[in-house]
């Protein structure tokens, strides 16, 4: 009876694994993405129900209470979170997933070594150590990333002498502790030290990484949660954990690579940190930029007379909650027969693909959003490039100034448009803390003010012209 039950559980796991894979595949295309997410949910449900059928799972009351409580928190948070806060949300959830994996492995270790005194086989000991290490690093690292994104912790890179040496020593310490965890399994001090050390390492690893690099960090931490889950799968010899963990691990890694490429940085360079420190030196040389201002009325008249506009949205637009009025602007322009497109830089926003979500929320159809590589050639034939709350991703210094910290980063060629209008709150530097020489270009006009208020006025002027 029990043997048949276990076969059934394993078949259910297999079905779940297949559904996870198909789900991710469908997630890759916008029209089927929602269905893909649904399949993935179904897969999770199957895996959970199958696990509950295990005969060792008996404490249904405690499980039900925990799951109910956590689910209501989960549903509430998932429904309420603002789309602008998505990076923080994902950082937080990454952290939870990582810590959960670490706890599961610790629980198994504790049961074997402390409660039943069986000791621990070497292979399992190694996987427990790995899972605790990666899971806990993910947790504390994610909490730091969350703090930086929320502004609770200073978003700038925090660097101090001997930082990398210290992290290296902590890693060696982790290896030593994992040896003791296996050899001296009767003593619980080793696994607890391992947890503490890993938590410290996670904090120290993310602290030196500046706020502008957070998209990369989030993708990387996402990859870690997958690896932690896979390591936990080795501890429990559970295939569904291993398969899905590995899927998520590689997914995060690929996204990390894409992000690095978009910022022209190597992963090593991002992880070692310190970026966003050199801001003050860059400011000195560009202090004598001469800018031209433009008013709301004049902007509206400019728009009225052209035939093509490319809007370049940045995170500043989202912060000002200007997405909806920007959509109205694009509708107003289209009513006049003007072609309107949105140029999306791969790192626009605070995480990969963030800007697409923010614009989708404002009901801007996704086929109007054009990726950088496909739109860069179009700027030369465009009358107006309207930049709203974006800065670093349109900085020509990335192409012209080898001493700029962002030199070599792929940017949008907005300066090739006939006229560039920059809607910006003030002359402050962008998120990466770098001055933008674009503002001094002869074809660049500055439209100062809060994005929402200013664009609202422009739309009002346009309507008034009808």
């Amino acid at each position: 009876m029990e043997a048949t039950l276990i076969i059934f559980i394993h078949i259910a796991y297999l079905v779940a694994a297949i559904l996870f894979i198909v789900g991710i595949k469908l997630l890759g295309k916008a029209p089927t993405a929602r269905k893909g997410n649904g399949l993935s949910m179904l897969a999770m449900l199957i895996a959970i129900v199958a696990t509950l059928a295990y005969q060792q799972v008996l404490s249904y009351t405690e499980i039900a209470i925990t799951v109910l409580l956590a689910s209501s928190i989960g549903v509430f948070a998932g429904r309420k979170v603002a789309m602008t806060a998505m990076p923080e949300m994902i950082a937080l959830l990454n952290g939870f997933g990582g810590l959960a994996s670490a706890f599961v492995s610790m629980s198994q270790y504790w049961r074997l070594t402390q409660e039943t005194n069986q000791g621990i086989p070497a292979v399992m000991g190694i996987t427990v150590a790995l899972s605790v290490l990666i899971g806990a690093v993910t947790f504390s690292g994610s909490m730091v990333a969350f703090g930086k994104l929320r502004g609770i912790i200073n978003g700038r890179a925090v660097v101090f002498a001997g930082q990398h040496l210290m992290n290296g020593l902590l890693l060696i310490g982790a290896v030593v502790l994992s040896v003791f965890m296996i050899v001296d399994a009767a003593s619980s001090v080793w696994v607890i030290s391992m947890l503490a050390l890993a938590l410290l390492l996670g904090i120290l690893a993310v602290i030196p990484i500046g706020g502008a690099d957070m998209p990369v960090v989030i993708a990387l931490l996402n990859s870690y949660t997958g690896v932690a889950a896979a390591a936990t799968g080795f501890v429990l010899e559970n295939q569904v954990l291993i398969i899905t963990g590995a899927l998520v691990g590689t997914a995060g890694l690929i996204l990390t690579q894409i992000m690095c490429k978009a910022m022209n940085r190597s992963l090593k360079n991002v992880v070692l940190g310190g970026f966003g420190q050199t801001a003050s030196t860059a400011e000195d040389e560009s202090g004598d930029i001469v800018i031209k201002e433009v008013g709301v009325e004049e902007s509206a008249m400019l728009f009225d007379a052209v035939s093509s506009v490319i809007i370049v949205p940045g995170y500043g637009m989202a912060v000002a909650q200007a997405q909806h009025i920007v959509r109205e602007l694009s509708e107003q322009l289209e009513k006049r027969g003007i072609s309107v497109k949105f140029a999306i830089h791969p790192v626009a926003g605070r995480m990969p693909g963030h800007m697409n979500v923010l614009l989708a929320e404002a009901n801007i159809p996704y086929d109007k959003l054009v990726e950088m590589e496909r739109i860069n050639d179009e700027f030369a034939q465009t009358d107006i490039a309207l930049i709203i709350g974006a800065n670093d991703v349109v900085n020509p210094a990335a192409k012209t100034n080898p001493s700029s910290p962002i030199f070599g980063m792929p940017v949008l060629d907005v300066e090739k448009a006939q006229t560039v209008i920059v809607c910006k709150r003030s002359m402050n530097a962008g998120y990466a803390g770098i001055e933008n020489e674009l503002f001094g270009y002869p074809n660049c006009l500055m439209l100062f003010g809060d994005a929402k208020a200013t664009i609202t006025e422009v739309v009002g002027e346009l309507k008034g012209m009808d």
């Binding site: 998932g78 994902i90 996402n222 894409i258 979500v357």
Partner: protein, 95 residues
């Protein structure tokens, strides 16, 4: 864990990694945020381990760790899927 089991599990992890690579590298940047939040929810599959760890009757340290893991993993899974669905619902083509 026997050497045979270990080898088989290693095969599984390597092959799954390749599948992940093939699946993800084709996904357009438009969908990267929902993809991140979906894979984030999927990584919550550790909930399976948490259920096993918290399944015993009575109270012990290992079970408390299991319950804590179950709590965290459930929030991870539920919130991750809810938020992904919310985002994907908003992606619309021009009518």
């Amino acid at each position: 864990m026997t050497a045979d089991t270990l080898i088989i599990l290693l095969y599984i992890v390597v092959l799954s990694g390749f599948i992940g690579f093939e699946l993800i590298s084709k996904i357009p940047p438009t969908l990267h945020t929902p993809l991140l939040s979906a894979t984030n929810a999927i990584a919550g599959v550790t909930i399976v381990g948490a259920l096993l760890a918290s399944g015993a009757m009575g109270w012990s340290v290992s079970k408390m760790l299991g319950i804590a893991a179950l709590f965290l993993a459930t929030i991870n899974v539920v919130s991750g899927y809810v938020v992904t669905d919310r985002m994907l619902q908003m992606f619309k083509k021009k009518k």
